[in-house]
């Protein structure tokens, strides 16, 4: 019995060391940073994006253009932020800071894909519904079945009738009409669980298949969040989008990125460096 216990402990120790080796942090100083702007989107769900009277770029999307293709310019986004902050698109009141950059780095090894986000989450939010977490950082990955997954990023999961939208059912989460998103979320509250979930007909914050882990720290006013997830495969380019809930924000009161691509030994807006 005693021998068995010792064997179990030794085996456990070896496995723990092994897993630490497997999740060995990349040398981030050797990984280039790609600035991705996150912005307050107001009430602009996919229904708004695809309605020409609201968004003239609908014609571009129908031609296969991406959101980034029209709106990322000179290192920032060329939106009319006055319009986005106006009552029509933000009836509750806009945050003081409408847009800020998130530095994205990515790296991979045989087992995992590592994504590091570095950002200053500004104060001055308009909604402080999350009392526990000052900041949440989320990465979502649409699968190939999501309509326009490589064009619209997270927008295919963002709907007018989802919670925190004006007049919407407060129990209805984000959802997709086709395909699904995998998501991982880091929360700043001490001891908070890392979200490893999925968005299908509803959003679930656990039960996902990414094998997600996350570590975050705040140094001064700079947050650094490092995610680890299973490597989807070398040579692949996967679409992704970011969301930062800063200043205790909840629901749609986040700052989000447009849809970008991440290349794992392949082309992409963000190129993951092999370890």
């Amino acid at each position: 019995m005693k021998k068995k216990t010792i064997s179990t402990l030794v085996l456990g120790a070896i496995l723990t060391m092994g897993s630490q080796l497997a999740f060995a942090a990349p040398d981030w100083s050797k990984v280039p940073k790609r600035d991705v702007s996150v912005f307050h989107p107001g009430v602009t769900p996919i229904e708004w994006v695809m309605k020409k009277s609201d968004h003239s770029g609908t014609a571009g999307l129908k031609k296969g253009e991406t959101c980034v293709g029209c709106h990322e310019e000179k290192g920032t986004l060329n939106f009319n932020f006055k319009r986005l902050a106006d009552k029509e698109l933000e009836p509750k009141g806009a945050p003081v800071t409408m847009i800020y950059p998130v530095a994205v780095q990515a790296s991979y090894d045989a087992a995992n894909l590592y994504i590091r986000l570095t950002f200053k989450a500004p104060a001055g939010g308009a909604d402080k519904g999350d009392k526990e977490n000052e900041v949440k950082a989320t990465v979502m990955f649409p699968d190939a079945k999501v309509t326009q997954a490589e064009q619209v990023g997270c927008w295919a999961a963002c709907h007018m009738d989802a919670r925190t939208m004006p007049g919407a059912d407060e129990k209805k989460t984000k959802y997709t009409k086709d395909g699904s998103y995998e998501l991982m979320q880091w929360r700043s509250a001490k001891g908070a669980k890392v979200g490893d979930g999925k968005v299908t007909t509803e959003r679930k914050m656990d039960g996902g298949t990414l094998g997600a882990k996350a570590e975050g720290a705040k140094a001064g006013d700079v947050y650094t969040v490092t995610f680890t997830r299973k490597n989807p495969g070398e040579g692949k380019t996967i679409p992704f989008g970011l969301a930062i809930h800063g200043d205790h924000a909840t629901g749609r009161f986040h700052h989000v990125s447009l849809g970008y691509t991440l290349g794992i030994g392949a082309t992409g807006d963000v190129k993951a460096v092999k370890q």
């Binding site: 309605k51 009277s53 571009g60 031609k63 310019e73």
Partner: protein, 194 residues
């Protein structure tokens, strides 16, 4: 009464024995200039911003919206007033538009849009009329100032440059996309109109 009219017609048809041909032509020519000039001056007066906003229906609604747009005030100081967008420049089309617009006088008399609520109730119908007119004439009034030939996409925001390329490729006209640029968009627009 009938005999008086017949007498007047007889006199008008009768060659003048009293006035010289030169005098008659001169009077006719000068009268022509006077009446034609007067007619055009009066018509041009109805093309001014001041005339358009002299009724409260325009002043209190569309004018207030237009004042916030780039067509009212901008970096270069060029202003497009109501008639620049809503009345054709060439004479024949302008006349047709003015005759058509006389119907608006009736609307004024019966108070079709004399309250903000009535204006909002009619906004979609009125806007649709104007979009239909502009679509039919290939956005002629826009093109008095704007043209694809004189556009420099390099100086446009990326989103504008890309959309203008699509617009040219698909032979779109300005009003196909640029609705609600000087006034608020109406609620309840049909997707076909967008």
């Amino acid at each position: 009464m009938a005999s008086k009219i017949a007498g007047l017609l007889t006199m008008l048809k009768k060659p003048s024995a009293k006035y010289s041909l030169f005098a008659l032509l001169s009077v006719g020519f000068l009268s022509g200039i006077f009446f034609w000039g007067g007619f055009n001056t009066a018509m041009e007066a109805t093309n001014t911003l001041d005339f358009c906003i002299s009724c409260h229906e325009m002043h209190d609604n569309v004018y207030q919206e237009y004042k916030k747009t780039i067509h009212f005030t901008n970096r270069t100081g060029v202003r497009a007033v109501c008639s620049d967008c809503h009345v054709p420049k060439d004479w024949s089309h302008k006349m047709l538009r003015k005759i058509q617009a006389s119907g608006e006088v009736w609307g004024k008399l019966i108070g079709t849009i004399d309250t903000p609520a009535k204006f909002e109730a009619n906004r979609l119908r009125l806007a649709t009329n104007e979009w239909t007119r502009m679509k039919a004439n290939d956005s002629r009034e826009c093109r008095n100032c704007h043209s694809f030939e004189s556009m420099d996409p390099e100086r446009q925001k990326l989103r504008g440059a890309k959309m203008h390329k699509i617009g040219q490729d698909e032979k779109k006209t300005c009003i196909d996309c640029h609705k609600g640029i000087a006034h608020q968009k109406p609620k309840g627009m049909k997707e076909d109109d967008e």
